[in-house]
Amino acid sequence: MTEVLRITGLAKSFGALKATDDVSLTLNAGEIHALIGPNGAGKSTLIGQIAGWIVPDAGTITLEGADITGLSVAARAKAGLGRTFQVSTLAMDRTARQNVRIAAQARAGSSFRFWGQVAQDQGLRDAVDQVLGDVQMLDQADTPIAELSHGARRRVEVACALALEPKLLLLDEPMAGLGQDGTQEMTALLARLKSRIPILLVEHDMDAVFALAGRISVLVNGAVIASGPPDVIRTDPAVRTAYLGED
């Protein structure tokens, strides 16, 4: 199985707090690797380091064998990291199409083009329509984000990540606040995507996690306390006391 992402010995402290404590993990082609753990375990901090927002104190991150630890956020995105955020970062006043188009245009080459009009760029339009179709948002493509439901916004976020044609997806709690229908839709969407694009999935919804993930790593106090297939994690006593028991 080809390895897409490898994290080795990653560490990050905020003052005395070890938010990431010597974390190593991998993500392989065709799989969803779920990252679970209680609130404040350090999941978002880990995603932030992989995406480049947070500089780790130690450790390395490689994407398809290339070290990306020193790259900027934008450079990592260009290199193939697509991500969504726990808290939406979409431009509320702009339409779904406009939000996705930024990613599509980044994918399609330089943004230092001052003359040609994006509204008339058929190539961009097709690329945007394609990913909006993937997340079943075509019918609301021209609706401002502010007027979309929470679930629709989540899907637009995924579409933005997909428009980069990424090598992998980092999804930080894509089901949060979605309700039952929304969670089911998102679960179905991720299941469709995983053969195409491997996903590192941070998620609190255990039904979704166990339905989707091929591997699960459990993060507690910044450290991975268990990692393995769902069946093993479900029955792991340490995990049950540290996390699953509480839920």
């Binding site: 995406a51 900027s72 956020v73 934008a74 450079a75 995105a77 260009k78 991500r83 955020f85 970062t89 979409l90 431009a91 509320m92 006043d93 702009r94 339409t95 406009q98 939000n99 188009r101 930024i102 990613a103 245009q105 980044a106 994918r107 330089s110 943004s111 230092f112 083009r113 001052f114 003359w115 040609g116 009009q117 994006v118 509204a119 933005c160 990540a161 428009a163 980069l164």
Partner: protein, 323 residues
Amino acid sequence: MRGREGWINGALAAALLIVPLALHLAGEVYYVNLASRVVIVALAAVGLNLALGYGGMVSFGHAAFFGIGGYVAGISAHHAILGTSFLGLSTTTEMPLIWLISVLLAGVVALAIGAISLRTKGVYFIMITLAFAQMLYYFAISFPAYGGEDGLPIYVRNTFPGLNTFDPITFYGICVVALFACLFLTARIMGSRFGAALDMAHLSETRLATAGIAPFNIRLTAFVISAMMTALAGALFADLNGFVSPSMMSWHRSGEIMVIVILGGVGRLWGPVAGAIAFVLLETFLGGLTERWGLFLGLILLGTVLFARGGIMGLIAGKARHD
């Protein structure tokens, strides 16, 4: 450009073409020159609007670029008249060349100022751009060769091939063409890939970076283009007044350009034009009635910021469309 805003823009354009011509035919030279003033400060504000309105970069130092344009025009004419040279270079009274130098020089200075200032955000950015503009202001004051504090008179009006630039309506024509060209350029830029990236740098920097576009580079480029347009306005302003002085670079001037952008409606293509018309008319007519016209301007501005965020354009044309 569709809808009500399109009509208003059209009306503004028509007014800029017709009113000064009517004033000219009526022999009202003073008012033709006033119209030139409106158009020039509108152009300066069109420049700032790219940074402030579209890019969300609240520059409180754009007078520096306005002044650079002014001093290029002034110093160039000064040497040309005296038949002396500037650092061994012979100078020119040809407007197109003066504009080119103004715009390039302002671009280089803006690149340096922006590269430092854009590492900060919010109120720090406002303060650091102000600080740079003040540095240039004091630099201009401390140069007695070019008039220092008293400023530098321009004894000729710089020339344009084939045109009599002394003729007020001809000069007005030059200014209005420059304004329209920069408006067209702004519209074109904001519809382009670069414009989409600048818009996103303003609205959600995180989203832009996550898409793989470094926000800093986008902002810096927009800041430079913005400064260039304002410098062009400065060069025209010096020729209109036949005079440059450090006051072109003062923080009052930066504030004035900013007020015009806010009054007209930030991030609206023709907002600076509406703002400039309102500002210069208020200044001229209210200023003629009372010395305390600044008080009224302040009240109007307060009202705009509190009750009409979209400025004049927002009031008449409603919410901005983005498509």
